[in-house]
Chain length 308, copies 2
């Protein structure tokens, strides 16, 4: 979950000097949130920092839950089944055992729901805020990259967009999604297995930014119909609806593309998996992402800690 | 690299509630620093926090190097070949590009030396200190646990003990090992392949603590000959030699046990791999670790940040 564009470039700088070794060549590379090793093992990492990724609106149990959920979201969006995880945490001293206990409660609840086994980790003292980092892995039999979208493909999303944003800015029921996102991991796997999606990723940083990444990776443009973006009742009624749905993030829904010929199969699969899917636009020749109804709202959010 | 005994119990608490899932059963469990999945993939994580695991005596390049080295050390001590790694980092804003560049230099130098490919990661803002976490994995064809030592087994270490401690407390050449440890990863693999070692782990937290862990896991006692502990010239001349060699940590050497019948094979392998090995004692019935020449020196070190 990078929290500003500069961070992506930092890690790209670090990664770009990848040495030539006899190690396995990832089949899905670092441009994606998850790498898939030659043996089909998918591996991804997500990091959450107190004051950046959470504040007092999230309980310790919510933080534990969310760390698992955001990692599982990345894997599911690659078509990988989450199986194991390692946890690294840095905590201030003296240790707050109540915090640890709550964190472990939420962590294990989510591990159980997503079918993930915690296999190890590392813990140390933090002279600053709490840091929690997870690496999650599992088999990807049919990995999907974000760079396969082609002009003419339809653009789809799962669920609704903007719920966590509404919770963050306006409170209410959206806080539930902000605290305990439920990414559609199984549906991501099912979509990947069909072989009908041309590109897929999860929505963690807002539709505008994430769709931009998908288009850049794929070498195509996107045209999105703002009025088609699926919204909960709270989000639909908000005056800043479009900003909530495109410029905030924390949706942990799937963004995927597929040829028009796949429409019926996608709708049938979504019905059978009881997942809402919505066609929000189409890929086009060229570059850039365009809203049919005007400009993208400016990003207003850099996580809980204000500007990054 | 846990930095105080309380931390081990924290992570054990977190891990103890591991849910029952249909996930893979690790063959080497969380009592070890590295877990080995059913498919033979070994995975471990190590975390370093500025002000706790390093201070101004380590350059950014040293930090990058060391993060790779300590992870590779864990894998090698399990008999696993380091192959891939993910990196999660949290950095203060504004981004210090000079720091990043130096860190990447050391990181990639070590990745190249240990034959590891960086496959992904996550980066974010830190409102506090720098935080760097790595998860490393690779195949373990002959994994070795720390719980197989038996009464009568000989206790061995590689290299010398106390070099990093001497560098930390007294400066001098030991600073080189503190900054850029070179764990004998290949020798760990070679030992594991022979099948002659009964238990193995790396020395990260000092001989007294780490040998205690090995004995607790194995259900045996240990008797160590203080005068046998291998020392560099600087350490041998230090008035606090025994404390440096047993109570500090950061050795990143191998601690292993084997039946007496394996002595010749171990010495031959060490000679062929050009690694120094020293027999420092033997396992005995009972529990606890005992120095033949008196009590263990009290731990005086809790990393760079003072008491944990």
């Amino acid at each position: 979950m990078p929290d500003d564009p500069g961070e992506s470039s930092i890690i790209e700088t670090l990664l770009s000097r990848r040495p030539l070794t006899d190690g396995p060549d990832p089949r899905v590379d670092a441009g994606d949130d998850v790498a898939v090793l030659a043996d089909g093992t998918a591996v991804g990492s997500d990091l959450m920092v107190e004051g950046v990724h959470w504040d007092e609106r999230l309980s310790p149990a919510d933080v534990g839950w969310k760390l698992v959920a955001v990692n599982a979201s990345d894997l599911g969006a690659t078509g990988a089944r989450p199986r194991w995880a390692t946890l690294s945490i840095a905590l201030p001293r003296p240790v707050d055992t109540e915090w640890i206990s709550g964190f472990a409660d939420g962590l294990h609840e989510a591990l159980g729901i997503f079918g993930v086994r915690l296999i190890g980790g590392d813990t140390t003292r933090s002279p600053g805020p709490r840091f929690v980092s997870m690496t999650m892995g599992g088999p990807a039999e049919h990995p999907v990259r974000r760079d396969g979208a082609r002009a003419g493909d339809r653009i789809w999303v799962t669920g609704t967009l903007g719920a966590a944003a509404a919770g963050f800015h306006h409170g209410g029921s959206g806080l539930g999604w902000l605290r305990r996102p439920r990414p559609p991991v199984s549906f991501g796997l099912a979509l990947a297995e069909t072989g009908i999606v041309s590109a897929m990723m999860d929505l963690s940083d807002g539709l505008a930014r994430d769709l931009g990444r998908l288009c850049t990776a794929s070498g195509c443009a996107a045209r999105v119909d703002a009025s088609a973006l699926p919204a909960s009742r709270q989000v639909a009624a908000a005056p800043d609806r479009l900003a909530l749905q495109t410029a905030f993030g924390e949706d942990y829904q799937l963004l995927f593309t597929a040829p028009a010929t796949a429409d019926a199969a996608i709708l049938a699969l979504a019905a059978s998996e009881d997942v809402r899917v919505t066609r929000i636009g189409a890929c086009a020749p060229g570059a850039g992402t365009h809203l049919r109804d005007g400009p993208w709202p400016a990003p207003t959010f850099s996580h809980f800690g204000g500007d990054a």
